[in-house]
């Protein structure tokens, strides 16, 4: 158990409404990531964080914003949800790697979002 919890696990909302997904970790890891997973696309990085208040964009960041005010919490916000944002969202933390060996990613159980 890597100590990652995502909330909510399931959400149905309407187009145009704001949505916030929360990722909470108990492991004090520096790096945290938000991915979305859609059939045929694998995992696509939305945003990531490398410390408190330090965040950067991933490959599919349009329409999403993030915040990290505490080490343990990484929030993903959809300011105005669209149907194209219907997806399963995964939060991940990065474990400690070694020389030339990247750290393992530990994933939460996912948040399934449906935008009607």
């Amino acid at each position: 158990d890597a100590g990652i919890t995502q909330s909510p696990r399931h959400k149905v909302t309407e187009t145009g409404t704001p949505v916030t997904l929360r990722c909470h970790q108990t492991e004090n890891h520096r790096y945290m990531y938000w991915y979305r997973q859609d059939p045929g696309h694998g995992l696509r990085l939305i945003h990531y964080s490398y410390g408190v208040k330090d965040t950067d964009k991933g490959e599919v960041s349009d329409g999403y914003s993030v915040s990290r005010s505490k080490t343990e919490d990484f929030l993903l916000t959809l300011e105005s949800a669209t149907s194209s944002q219907t997806s399963v969202y995964f939060c991940a933390i990065k474990g400690q790697g070694a020389r030339r060996i990247p750290g393992e990613l530990f994933f939460g159980e996912g948040s399934r979002l449906t935008v009607l």
Binding site: L43, R100, E104, G110
Partner: protein, 111 residues
């Protein structure tokens, strides 16, 4: 654009058969990871390979990193229903801490 192409996208075989899943790219990676994901859960790391030509075994699963570090394969011997899942490869670059993900191979092992 860096891409990792996985093949096949879907594979359904009988228990006891052998299979190989491939992960190919035109880019060179410093490392490659394989994850397995079960329905309703997040991916879980199976192995990390970092040296060209490296072979790692995990019980009935054999992972190989290509000599040029552009491709990798996962071979399962005598597949079992418990091997069912989505297998994802992810390539790492020294220059940043992001991973390049393949689209996944959905594997079903029928009893």
């Amino acid at each position: 654009t860096q891409l990792l192409e996985q093949s096949p996208q879907f594979l359904s075989i009988q228990e006891g058969e052998n299979l190989t899943v491939y992960c190919n790219s035109s880019s060179v990676f410093s490392s490659l990871q394989w994850y397995r994901q079960e329905p309703g859960e997040g991916p879980v790391l199976l192995v990390t390979v970092v040296t060209g030509g490296e072979v790692k075994k995990l019980k009935r699963l054999t992972f190989q990193f290509g000599d040029a570090r552009k491709d990798s394969s996962l071979h399962i011997t005598a597949a079992q229903p418990g091997d069912t899942g989505l297998y994802l490869c992810a390539g790492g670059m020294d220059s940043n801490y992001q991973l390049i993900w393949g689209a996944g191979t959905k594997l079903i092992i029928k009893p």
